[in-house]
């Protein structure tokens, strides 16, 4: 059996001493796409930021293992180079660094021309990274970055936020291509964790496993679309029962 790409064991994370993740467990296998639902401010993004050990996120307890290796003593770039790539919800503007120079610095693939064209990013290559980009352009640049990085595990933070329908379709098509969605699941090499609070992205990307994240924990795991239907009907308040009595819905 394959080693999980990511294994999280009893994880506790805080930001400036405020506890955000309070004992979380998660295992992501090769080729699996997990989607994590949760209300705004529940700490979903904290999980992704903690996996990459971004500054300000303190791992107080528990373990994060990437391909069975504990990341405790690793730096952010070392974790990324283990095959983790993240599409940020709010990527920073970096003045002076062009998208072209950035891609050249991270590119692991031979040729990105087709991907650049598919994401309509030709005119942005000589622009400063994320400076003056619209919501859709930011997300397209983030997905282009993932192409260049060619990671084994994609961490995708709120791909639909601030993006119009046309751009969601373009971005989703590209993500599906990176995730080799055209191939049978047993042949797919890449995995993903997608964070969403609207669930809208599921209209475009097939996820295999869904989780509801509330109060610092995963409170519910099941089929992504059925979880989304429940949330649509009852809202996240409807998940309160799961906090009292967590259950597996697969």
């Amino acid at each position: 059996m394959d080693v999980p790409v990511l294994k999280i064991i009893d994880l506790h994370v805080s930001i400036e001493k405020k506890k955000i993740i309070k004992g979380m467990n998660l295992s992501v296998g090769k080729g699996e796409v997990h989607v994590i639902f949760g209300p705004n401010g529940s700490g979903k993004s904290t999980l992704l930021n903690a996996i990459l050990k971004l500054p300000g996120y303190s791992i107080d307890d528990g373990e994060i293992r990437v391909k069975s290796k504990n990341i405790q003593d690793m730096t952010t770039d070392e974790i990324a180079n283990m095959g983790i790539g993240m599409s940020f919800q709010h990527p920073p503007k970096i003045k002076g660094v062009t998208l072209r120079n950035f891609l050249n610095a991270i590119n692991r693939t031979e040729d990105l021309d087709d991907e650049i064209r598919a994401l309509n990013m030709e005119d942005f290559l000589d622009r400063e990274l994320n400076v003056g980009f619209s919501g859709g352009e930011l997300k397209r640049a983030e997905v282009l970055k993932l192409y260049a990085q060619s990671p084994d595990l994609l961490l995708i933070d709120e791909p639909e936020s601030g993006v119009d329908i046309e751009n969601i379709a373009v971005i989703s098509k590209a993500i599906n291509k990176i995730l080799q969605k055209e191939a049978p699941i047993n042949l797919r090499e890449r995995s993903a964790i997608i964070i969403t609070h609207t669930g809208h992205i599921l209209n475009y990307i097939d996820a295999d496993i869904g989780h509801v994240f509330m109060d610092g924990k995963i409170v519910c795991t099941g089929k992504p679309k059925s979880i989304m239907e429940d949330i649509k009907k009852l809202g996240f308040s409807g998940c309160a029962a799961c906090i009292k009595e967590p259950k597996d819905r697969i």
Binding site: L52, I94, F102
Partner: protein, 365 residues
């Protein structure tokens, strides 16, 4: 040109002087010796300043008109120097030459004081691109470079002047320059200083006449024990005159004061200034002093200034993309210093960027 050893050639190359590259004219002096002065283009004249003063009586009338002989102790020292070192460049009316003129001064003897005086004349509707390097040879421990440069840019002419400095730890440098930018003329001045210098102080002046444009860009990377005090003063002296002063400074332990002053005297004048500094170390400082003086209500003058460290978010973002920390810092610093100069021809912009890249020494602390 006289024989140059490999070390000297390498040092000259650091400030963009390479005898093999395509050029319209060139000038090279080490200490007091003029090693090369030649032009390959009709309508473009380059002479050692002494020869030019002998040849053209009228040139004496222009000498020390834009910069007064007693402006300060350094100009006084140049004015009273026994040796007259410098170049005279004149581009004739209507002649436009896109290939640059390369000039270079090098200090080649220890403790040497090099005094220079240059005159540049761009006649009406001409176009001249000048790239000037100044450096000290590898074996030099200390020295001084005092330079006076006067630019006469006549109506409708365009002059771009790119100055690249790379000195040594114990070298002091006091360039003094002034430009008279005529009606509808353009003067674009770029200054690039990389590495260490004991002390460098300059405040070039430009007086811009009606419809004229003066742009000043400076890119400075200051290492520990270096002192830079640089600035530009622009006087918008005619209707519709405009100016932009932009400086990007990185201090890796160096002490940098960056000044900018725009004085607006007439209607429809526009002036904008941006001084941005990046501090890489707790040693050293960046002191940005932007100044605006408006003397007509129909002027538009503005400035922005910022001094800070490398953003943690930007660094984390690059590292999260798999770029190791030192390389990520270099990418940010290189980008910060990669000034885009809209009015510069593309090939010159590429060359300046290449120079910045070539001469960078971005070890961070």
């Amino acid at each position: 040109m006289k024989y140059l050893d490999d070390t000297t050639k390498a040092m000259l190359k650091k400030v963009a002087f390479d005898e093999k590259q395509e050029h319209s004219a060139s000038f090279l002096a080490t200490d007091w010796d003029v090693l090369d002065t030649h032009s390959t283009e009709d309508g473009l004249e380059i002479l050692p300043i002494g020869t030019a003063l002998d040849k053209y009586e009228w040139l004496r009338e222009l000498f020390f008109t834009l910069i007064e002989k007693d402006k300060d102790t350094y100009v006084k020292e140049v004015a009273s120097s026994d040796v007259l070192l410098g170049y005279f460049i004149r581009i004739k009316a209507g002649v436009k030459i896109s290939l640059p003129v390369y000039t270079c001064y090098m200090i080649n003897s220890d403790t040497f004081t090099q005094c220079t005086h240059n005159i540049i004349i761009a006649e009406e509707n001409s176009e001249l691109h000048l790239i000037s390097g100044c450096t000290a040879n590898a074996h030099i421990l200390s020295g001084r470079h005092l330079g006076v440069t006067e630019y006469f840019i006549e109506e409708g002419a365009t002059v771009t002047s790119t100055m690249i400095h790379s000195w040594g730890k114990e070298v002091e440098v006091y360039p003094r320059s002034a430009a008279n930018v005529g009606k509808n003329a353009k003067f674009i001045s770029n200054y690039v200083a990389m590495g260490s210098v004991k002390k460098l102080q300059m405040d070039p002046l430009a007086v811009i006449e009606e419809g004229g444009l003066g742009e000043f860009y400076s890119v400075i990377y200051a290492t520990e024990n270096s002192q830079f005090d640089i600035g530009s003063t622009v006087i918008l002296n005619g209707d519709g005159a405009s100016s932009e002063i932009i400086s990007r400074v990185v201090s890796n332990g160096g002490e940098v004061t960056t000044r900018g002053k725009i004085v607006g005297k007439h209607q429809n004048g526009r002036g904008a200034m941006a001084c941005n500094g990046l501090l890489l170390s707790k040693k050293g400082y960046i002191h940005a002093i932007p100044e605006l003086l408006g003397q007509d209500p129909r002027l538009e003058l503005s400035h922005e200034a910022s001094v800070g460290m490398i953003s943690k978010d930007e660094l984390a973002y690059l590292m999260a993309s798999g770029i190791e920390e030192e390389k990520a810092k270099s990418l940010i610093i290189e980008g910060f210093l990669d000034l885009k100069i809209p009015s510069l021809p593309d090939y010159l912009q590429r060359q300046i960027n290449a120079i910045v890249k070539e001469t960078k020494d971005f070890e961070t602390m």
